[in-house]
């Protein structure tokens, strides 16, 4: 089984603005036997993102419920990996949040998909990140 790690920039952009490429990716999961994974942090970020981007509470709740049904598996980092997260965050001057998604990808040997150009540029030398969209 292979897959990709995704962050909130990918998921929230899809939810708020639409992303045909991401829909294709979702639909390929079953056919091509790969999976989308992320961290539990994604749940918090997506919900907070909906909370502060949409004025309509009911719409935000409906969208959150649909998000929860998307086939994205949430994983936790082991304490050894958290050490790598902190090292990466200090070394590349990035946030622990961004580094944690990245380290998850590196630990699985899967690409980390993000829409954040700034982050991708900062960690390009390390690799393992693909700019999405």
């Amino acid at each position: 089984m292979k897959g990709f790690v995704i962050d909130a920039s990918v998921v929230l952009t899809y939810l708020l603005k639409g992303d045909k490429e991401f829909v294709s990716l979702l639909k390929k999961i079953k056919k091509d036997r790969f999976e989308l994974v992320s961290l539990e942090l994604l749940d918090w970020e997506v919900r907070n993102g909906l909370r502060f981007s949409l004025e309509n509470k009911d719409l935000a709740i409906k969208l959150m419920i649909l998000y929860e049904q998307l086939p994205i598996r949430k994983l936790s980092l082991s304490s050894g990996l958290w050490e790598e997260v902190l090292k990466l965050a200090y070394q590349q001057k990035v946030t622990v949040y961004d580094a944690s998604y990245h380290v998850l990808g590196l630990s699985l040997g899967w690409e980390f998909l993000t829409r954040d150009e700034k982050y991708e540029r900062r960690v390009r030398e390390i690799g393992g990140v693909r700019l999405w969209g």
């Binding site: 920039s9 708020l16 603005k17 079953k30 907070n48 719409l59 409906k62 829409r115």
Partner: protein, 97 residues
């Protein structure tokens, strides 16, 4: 399926064609399986589990289309959202950073 008539009593006999396959399982899964199900009942358990997984898989294929469709409908209701990626990230972490 074969229908056998015995003294006006209809007996339905299911003749299932069985196929023999060899599968490899990690140690922990194998031991758990033997512990829970027992050696003599593995085939039945695997057949039932696979059947259930295939049904679930079929159902989730349909439901994914439905979820994607409903998200699209909601997006149309919310109108155009003009946030940049950096703005979206800030909103996602508002209150945290």
């Amino acid at each position: 399926m074969v229908i056998v008539l015995v003294d006006k009593v209809h007996i339905l006999v299911h003749t299932l064609v069985m196929n023999r396959i060899t599968i490899s399982l990690p140690d922990d899964v194998y031991n758990h399986l033997i512990g829970e199900v027992g050696k003599g009942k593995i085939s039945g358990f695997v057949a039932e589990s696979v059947r259930l997984s295939l049904v679930r898989r079929k159902m989730s294929e349909g439901s994914l289309d439905q979820i994607v469709g409903e998200i699209e409908q909601l997006r149309q209701k919310m109108g155009k959202v003009d946030f940049s990626v950096q703005e979206i990230k800030k909103l996602a972490r508002k209150g945290l950073e």
